[in-house]
Every structure is written in C-alpha cells, then in structure tokens.
Symmetry: C2
Subunit: 377 residues, 2 copies
C-alpha cells in the first residue's frame, strides 16, 4: 500500500485525532493543511520556502497540468516531484472540480465529461480512466478518484444521481489505477447536504476499500453551520484506519472545526489567494495591508508571528510593495499566510496531544474574531 | 570620508583596474555590477537571494521612492537599509533621469525641475537641494548629484548648456549634502557625445573633489561604438583614486568593454527586465524560454551555470511557469540573469588579476555571439 494511516491519539476533550499519513515521499503529520500548487508551483513560493515553513505536503491540479504543460511532459521530466523540485509528498486532485467550475460547454455523460479548455477553447474529454492516466503520469503520492461535484444547492434527486455516478466512476478509477503500490487512490464521498445520501455514498465507497477517503461537495457556497452538520454525520461513516480529507477548506475556523470532527487533511487556495490582494491572517484577525493606516506602521504583520516576513519586514514596507505592485510584496504576504495556517495546524496537533482542542478553539476564535456567518476567513 | 577607493591592481593586458570601494555598509569589489531595486526591492528577489548570488551593492531610485512611499516614511522606518532589510551597500540615483524620462509636463529651470507624477499627476518639484534632502533621508551609502541628462542626439549647444547646469547643480548638491561622513556624493560627468564638452564637465567637477564620479548620458540610444569612444576619452579625465561609475549599462559586452576602459561600477535594469519576459542570458548567448523548442528540454537554462535555478529546474519547467504566468517563473529567470552578470563580473575581476581581460573578452564574445550593433544584450 502506498498510503497508510498511523493513529497516534484521540483528543479526550474534542474527539479530534492526531496521526501520521505515511507516503512514498515521507510522512504527513495530521491534522494537516496542504498548500495548493495549482500549476506545479505554490504561487510565488519556492520549495525551499515551503520546507522552511514546514509544509509536509502540497496539492497540485490535474486539470491545469493536463491542459498545460501536459501530463506527458511532466512524466517525461521524471514526474511532478522532479519537475517542480519538491521531494516531499504531493496530492493531485482528479480534475473533476475544475472541469465543472472552470471549463466551458461541459457535457456530462456516463462515460465522462466533454468540455472546452478555459485557456484556448480546445475540445477535451476527461473520463475516470483519463483522470487516472493523467494522475499516474504525474506521479503524486496521493491521487483522487474522478467525481462529480454537485453545486449548492442541489436537490435530493440530482445529488443522488450524482453520488451514484461518482461511485461508479470511483470503481472505474480503482480499476484503471496502474500503480497502487506507488500512489494511493482516495475516493470522494458526495451526497450534497443530505444525510441519507452521504450514508449511501460512504457505504458504497468504503466497501471498495480505498486507502483514504475525502469528503467532497462542501465549501461550495453553503453556510458554515451546514458544512459542520454534514461533517458531524459523515466523518463517523469513514473507516477509522484511513486518512480523511476535507476538500477545499482552509479558513482558520473550518480547519479547527474540521479537526474536531475527525478530519486529517485539508487544502485551500484561500491563504495564497488573499495574500495576492494584500490580505493577511494574524493571531488577532485579518488585516488588509493596503489600508492607509499601515503607511507608517513599522511593526510586523503579526507581533506574535515568527515567520520570515514578520521577522524581517514591517507593515509599512509590505504595504509599500503591495501598493507598488512589487512581486516581493506578494511573496511576503503569501509566505506569512501559509506559515500562519501551518502554525495553526501545529497548534491544533499540540492541543490534541494535550487533550484541549476545544479550549484551543475557543481561545483562537476569541482572539481572531471569528464571524460565524463569514465564509472564507 | 564615507566612500574610499582602494586600487588593487591594473590589468597589464587591458588597463582595466581591480579595486575595492569601501562604504559604511561594507566593501564592493570592483569592477562591479549593481542590481537595480527601483522601488526598494530588486524585482521578485529577496535580500537573502541577492546575498546568495553575492551581490555586493544594490541601486534604488530616488524619484520612485520620493513618489511612493515617500522619503519621510523611509526615514521614519530607520532608512532604506532597514526598510528593505538590506545591510550591504546601497546607491541611490538622483531622480534626474526619471524626472526626464518618466514624468509628464516637466519644466526645467535653473532652480530645478517641475513635473507631474507619472502615478497620479501630482505637481512636484525637484531641485538639487530637494534631491539631496530626499537622498539624505533615504540614507544610501552612495548618493548622486542631481543632473540634467540630455537625450540622444543632442546638439553641441544644448549639450553644453546642459552640462554647465549640471555643474552648477553639482555644486549646490555638494553644499546641500548634510552628512558627508555617512554618505558619499558622486558627481555625474555629462557632455553628450562631444569630447570637448566631456573634458569641460570632468574638469569642472573634478575641481570640486567629489568622493566618486559617474559618467552619465550614455546608453541613451546611441550606437555602442560611440559609447565606447566617449569612454575612451572620458575615463582618463577622472581621478585615479576615486570610483568611476558608468550609469545605466548592463549588457554583457558593455560591462566587459567598460571594465577594459577603467570603469568600476555599473547598473542596469536589463537582466531583471528581460527576465520578466522570459529571456535569459547564458554562456552561449541569450535564450527566449517561451520558445516551443524548450517544451521538452529537461536540461538547465545554462549547462555551465551553477545558480539556484540551473541547479534545480529545467528549461521545460521554467518555460511552463512563464507561459502560465506563474510568479515563480520570473523569480527563477531573474535569479539566473542577475547571477549571470555577477558571475561575469567575478570572471572579469579574475581576468584582471591574471592580466588577461582582453583574452577573456574575446573568449566570452565568441561564445555569447555578441552583435556589435545590438543594444541591450
């Protein structure tokens, strides 16, 4: 098995779990946040910087790499690890989410999805088999089954059809996967916001014994309390001995709430995306660095942060760079935001070790000023 | 004196000189290339990366920092070194060149230059005194006298008037300079492409005993042979015991030819600017990495290069990043190009040590494929 889960302990206060995901390229300590490197690079960052902030794993996108530069080129380069100079674990998504959200004129059939490239309009087709072929070529440690991710809201009958197709596609992915000893294929539980459908999806997929399970179809526009509700009844349906991955979630509150509900892995473009607009996360909430009030603020972005940016640069300097459209500015904010979330997850793991994750959450929320209804942060 | 020049040796073959410029923030080994950090950052690079490639000094632009964030803010931050986290030497230009090339509706008088900001149209005024006030606030090790840089071509009478004003302005700069023990003020020899005027300018300025001299008004559109001709008769007019700085020059051939003519310091945006378009300099000439022929080229940008980019990434990967508009791509090309020119200058200094700079030039030109008439590369 390419991927195994080692359980270390369960937090007595919250039920969250501390563990390790073992991969061909090393260990991921969980609960873990995975920075997103859409196009074989975590935007603005070097691999050395990601290691410096102790990222254990990065995610990359099958859809994007299929379109450009093409999986054949990445394979010829010796695989994605070598292509992007990253020797730690990588996870690739299946391309499903992007096919549905980015491509034009998509046509879904039982066979797969026909669509036009968002780059040049080329007519393309991705089936479960094609997704796995691409992911086998890319060579990530963890690969994802090709799923259909229903929009929010979706009615019961649509969500049911969609999850059943996702199950049939997962079966085809499993069959198409040519190197299970090198790459672990995770299935994705769908079913929208319906408990009976999540049960059905989890039952069908766990019967196929994948090395890991993801929960998809969340963080797609639903209110947060609904997401947590779905997690409440879905996570217990997943096997204890396998990693559990909540897709597309990266706001500080959702990371903590997800961990409390037994999630091991998370990914999201949030920290890197908002960094490019000059928004940073700090221990006392978010901060829009373009704001005029920071023009002569010579303190660090976050006085409690020990990251490269906060050790060496002032809010005034970062603001200047962002306003002057200087690339180094978004390097500094990106570094800080990723470090912030990775540091948060270190805090979460430590709190689990100490059986106090609920206290940790309350303390963090009070300082960060979490707005229950806000999405994103 | 803030700035002193130490002569180490003269190349017996070429007459080029090897030396050291001593500054309050350390030594610059010369001949030296200075990367340009226009807005208090060398575009895309961190200070650590610049140190890694052994940049001894960087240049920053008075005009740009005056407009944004404002020299008062940089001063309040503790000066430019601290603001941008660079503890090695810095040189700031006077703002003159940008006032003439970037600003709108400029009106030159004996008092100074009135202009409108290219950012927001604000009406502004820079005089010699103002330029020095700004540069004193920024706190660079080397600061430049406010000069008038005539365009190319300029007729004899315009060039003469312009150089005479530059002399008067230099005198005012010298008088306005408030901290000569902390910052060395260099004068700029003008005079267009006219030998008598260069003689006049050099005579007037050297009589005022500045700690260093620049040659301005070159690399402004004239053919290269003309620039070399001007250097041939201008450099000998400068005092031997002071640093000599050729402004705005950074093509590999001009760096070598300039060193041969006795120049110690150079600066140019060329390596960083072309990097952002995906053009890189290699030992066998320049290379446009977007080119389709590099799509499956898994070798380094330059097989003879030892830089971070060439040690870790392929042409195919760099091409992918540049085509995908990924910031990390221009980080990699910028790093490579700056390293290339700094490495070239290390080669020039070694060749001077070995009394073989003319041989070095011929070998370099033969491999690089220098086109006598090309400007820029």
């Amino acid at each position: 098995m390419a991927i195994t889960y080692e359980h270390i302990k369960t937090c007595k206060q919250s039920g969250a779990r501390l563990g390790r995901v073992h991969t061909p390229h090393g260990i991921v300590e969980t609960p873990a946040f995975m920075p997103v490197g859409t196009q074989a690079t975590v935007k603005t960052m070097s691999p050395e910087e990601l290691k410096e902030m102790d990222a254990h794993i990065v995610l990359s996108n099958t859809y994007h790499l299929f379109l450009r530069p093409g999986h054949d080129i990445v394979k010829a380069a010796g695989g994605l690890h070598r292509f992007m100079n990253w020797d730690r674990p990588i996870l690739t998504d299946s391309g499903g989410f992007q096919v549905f959200s980015l491509s034009e004129m998509r046509k879904i059939s039982e066979e797969g999805v026909q669509f036009r490239s968002h780059l040049n309009g080329d007519k393309l087709f991705i089936s479960p088999e094609k997704s796995i072929e691409i992911q086998n070529a890319l060579g990530a440690d963890i690969i994802m089954a090709f799923d259909e991710c229903p929009p929010y809201p979706a009615d019961h009958s649509y969500a049911k059809q969609s999850l059943e197709r996702t199950t049939r596609w997962a079966e085809r992915c499993l069959k198409a996967h040519s190197q299970p000893e090198e790459q672990g294929l995770f299935a994705i539980v769908q079913g929208g916001m319906y408990e009976d459908l999540r049960k059905q999806s989890a039952a069908e997929l766990t019967s196929m014994d994948f090395p890991g399970y993801a929960i998809g179809g969340l963080s797609v526009g639903e209110p947060k309390h609904l997401m947590f509700e779905v997690l409440d009844y879905t996570v217990p349906l997943l096997p204890f001995g396998k990693p559990r991955y909540l897709m597309g979630v990266g706001s500080p509150d959702a990371l903590i709430e997800g961990a409390i509900r037994g999630i091991d892995m998370f990914d999201c473009v949030l920290p890197t995306r908002i960094a490019r607009n000059g928004t940073v996360m700090t221990s006392s909430g978010r901060l829009v660095i373009r704001n005029a009030k920071f023009a002569e603020d010579f303190g660090p972005l976050d006085p409690e942060c020990s990251c490269y940016t906060c050790r060496n640069y002032s809010r005034a300097y970062v603001r200047h760079l962002i306003k002057a459209d200087e690339t180094f500015g978004i390097r500094l904010t990106t570094y800080h935001n990723l470090h912030f979330l990775l540091e948060l997850m270190r805090g979460v793991r430590q709190a689990i070790r100490e059986d106090r994750l609920l206290d940790f959450r309350d303390e963090f929320f009070a300082r960060y000023g979490i707005d229950e209804n806000s999405k994103g942060f």
